[in-house]
């Protein structure tokens, strides 16, 4: 699975005398542009915060068609940085912390600084059985990382990684060693870079050696340049490092077998004395690294695998094979660009990323901002959601209330009408009571007085009829005179007729006095007729239908 560097669009390699910008697509370098820098000004560039490299960088970027905002990885060389493999007699975090502490003494940074990066390779047991962690540790001074970051950001690149070039090469060789370990193969591999050579040896299923020594192609180039500057150098006197590199790639490495011949434009006799120390050191370092014996003891059958920029120099592998009396194979597709592409795509590449404190702070700030924004967004979303949900609930309840209003109105109307009906019923009862009280208990005076008149017709003379209601009982008091003859038969008949009347309850004679009127004896009488209490309306209906 590729790491974050696989997304890089630009790979910048900054080394003394050379600035290389490569366009990367899909983890592979597709275009490369280099700017020659004067090695003399190298320290000056750093002192000025790499501002002097702004224009070369822009030019190189334009040539590889880099766009503002492209993600960039920077590989750099600096005396204030280091990259090395460590074996620490500890495990896990303890080993990492120990490695950080160890390297912080050499590079002026704190042990917990983001300018130190550690890649854990694995664990091995030493001869005493102690478990040791194998680690690649890179570190750089804070100012270096900060300057590189600012330098790239000034041309609008997004820096996603800053790694010392030595660390990248160590990491790549460690990956290759791991592949051999995985297959159970023994392997001796070395990669000659421009400024260093990295050696890795896998034997008996463990990585025996992973080390760097400072001999690279640039040292060979420097030898050629120095040789060309001597008075005997011939027509090619004073060639540039780029020209020297071109010559190396075209003509191969000069060697003692053809020292009388011209090497391109250079006289070999001037070059070889300066080249030999470099090559000798390369041989010695390789021999020591792989623990090879000298020429006297045969080492035939041992195969070294070579990769890196050194593979681009014809004859270099043969010279090394001859010098070490071993077989040297060049790994196919192991040029500098191929190595860089493979490293970018490796999962472990990002583990050696250095970050300046400022960048770390900015990243922290960005994370805090993002968290704040997310928190604010969540808060607003929560609020909005709550408001929407509550509003939805309220609308649902409103709808239900409106739907229930018709039923409620019907029920309320029923209740109100029931109550009013009950109240009206009481009123009707009360009204009937009032009517009965004031109208129902009065006699039908017309009927009663007519009854009295009929009963007295031709029998008695009625002087006065007085009808009244006494204690709720209708009463008629009759005053009159009647013939006293025939034993008062007329009065008696009058009383009898009244007594049998349905309208009369009883007849009471209040007084009767015999008196003589015009020679006739008459009875002057007063009767009290108590009338039946009959409902006036019913009685009236019967009497006067």
């Amino acid at each position: 699975m590729p790491g974050a560097f696989a997304n890089a669009k630009i790979l910048i390699s900054l080394e003394p005398g050379r600035l290389t910008v490569s366009a990367v697509r899909g983890g592979a370098i597709v275009r490369t542009s280099a700017e020659h820098l004067s090695p003399v000004d190298w320290a000056g560039h750093w002192e000025q915060g790499l501002r002097t490299l702004h224009e070369p960088l822009e030019r190189a970027m334009a040539r590889v068609r880099a766009a503002p905002g492209d993600r960039a990885v920077i590989l750099f060389e600096s005396p204030q940085s280091t990259a090395e493999m460590m074996e620490v007699p500890a495990r896990g975090t303890e080993a990492v912390n120990a490695a950080r502490l160890a390297i912080s003494d050499r590079v002026q940074v704190a042990a917990d600084s983001p300018c130190i990066a550690v890649r854990a390779l694995g664990e091995v047991s030493d001869s005493a059985g102690v478990r040791r962690s194998q680690l690649i540790v890179v570190a750089s001074e804070e100012s270096v990382v900060q300057r590189l970051t600012e330098w790239a950001e000034r041309v609008s690149l997004r820096v996603i990684g800053i790694v010392p070039a030595g660390g990248a090469l160590l990491s790549k060789l460690a990956d290759e060693a791991a592949e051999h370990q995985g297959r159970g193969d023994d392997a001796r591999i070395f990669a000659i870079d421009r400024h260093r050579t990295v050696v890795v040896s896998v034997r008996e299923g463990r990585m025996q050696v992973l080390r760097t020594f400072e001999v690279g192609v640039q040292h060979i180039i420097d030898s050629l340049v120095k040789g060309s500057q001597s008075s005997e150098a011939g027509r090619g006197a004073g060639i540039t490092p780029d020209r020297a590199y071109e010559l190396l790639k075209q003509e191969g490495l000069p060697h003692s077998g053809n020292e009388t011949a011209n090497y391109g434009d250079l006289d070999m006799r001037c070059v070889l004395p300066l080249l030999q120390p470099v090559l000798q050191r390369l041989y010695v370092e390789l021999r020591q690294s792989f623990r090879l014996s000298g020429r006297q003891v045969s080492t035939s059958g041992v195969v070294l695998k070579m990769s890196g920029t050194g593979c681009e120099i014809p004859g270099l592998s043969a010279i090394i094979a001859d010098a070490l009396n071993v077989e040297v194979e060049t790994i196919e597709g192991s040029s500098a660009d191929a190595l860089a592409s493979a490293w970018l795509s490796s999962k472990a590449a990002t583990s050696l990323r250095l970050t300046s404190l400022m960048t770390l702070h900015e990243q922290t700030l960005t994370r805090v901002r993002k968290c704040s924004l997310i928190g604010a967004g969540l808060g607003v979303a929560l609020l909005g959601g709550q408001i929407a949900w509550t509003g939805m609930q309220m609308r649902a309840i409103d709808t239900a209330l409106v739907a229930g209003e018709a039923d409620l109105d019907r029920c309320e109307l029923f209740a109100v009408m029931s109550a009013e009906a009950a109240m009206t019923k009481q009123d009707i009862v009360k009204a009937r009571g009032i009517i009965d009280q004031y109208r129902g208990n009065q006699p039908d005076w017309q009927a009663c007085l007519t009854e009295v008149a009929i009963a007295g017709e031709a029998r008695v003379g009625l002087i006065e009829l007085r009808g009244m209601i006494e204690d709720g009982t209708p009463v008629i008091v009759v005053s009159g005179v009647a013939d006293a003859g025939n034993e008062g038969a007329d009065l008696n008949e009058f009383i009898r007729l009244l007594t049998v009347s349905a309208l009369v309850r009883n007849v009471e004679v209040i007084s009767r006095r015999l008196m003589e009127v015009d020679g006739h004896e008459s009875h002057q009488f007063r009767l009290r007729i108590a009338l039946e209490s009959v409902d006036f309306a019913r009685l009236h209906a019967e009497v006067s239908p």
Binding site: H361, I387, T390, M394, A421, T424, Y438, L449, I463
Partner: protein, 195 residues
Amino acid sequence: MIVQLVRRPIMLTVAGAFGCVALWSVIVAPMKQELDRKAKELESQQMLVTQGLAEIARAEVDPILLMNEFKVIAQEYESLWAISADSTVVYKMFDELALIAGVSIDRIEPSRTGVRTDDGQTRLLHSGFVVELRGAYDRILAFVELTQTSMGLTRVTSVRVNPASTMGQDSVVHAHLVTEHVGVSGLFAAVKELP
């Protein structure tokens, strides 16, 4: 340094949190209170509707129909004492009834008036007249009958007739009537509100 860098976003976060809480208090909390109130209102409404529908289902008579019947009865009662409540109308009606009955009113004067309140709501307005009239006996009785039947809630509390030669068509008798007229108010308030 990192503390200084993150101070502002942290302060903004805290301020945002306070803002959220404030917005919650100002907007959401009242909405939730309103929601609770409406939920209770809905619950109450549903309970009332359930009870009301049960009562409607149990009811034997539709109260609206009943009230319509009561309204007719009430109108009859109201019209009954509409005449007797107004003494001026009563006064005029005596002349009309006398004319109908064929009697002459010699004297008419109010006897008594008063207001009686029944249980605080129903008011009974009493008025009374003393009427002296003259005419044939049967006409006098016809007048009494008309008074009893045509003047609303009216009763004749006493009748005095003299000389009571009674049934003779030509004989003229004098009559002295005491009447009582009652007006009622404060009843059927519910019926009056019906459309």
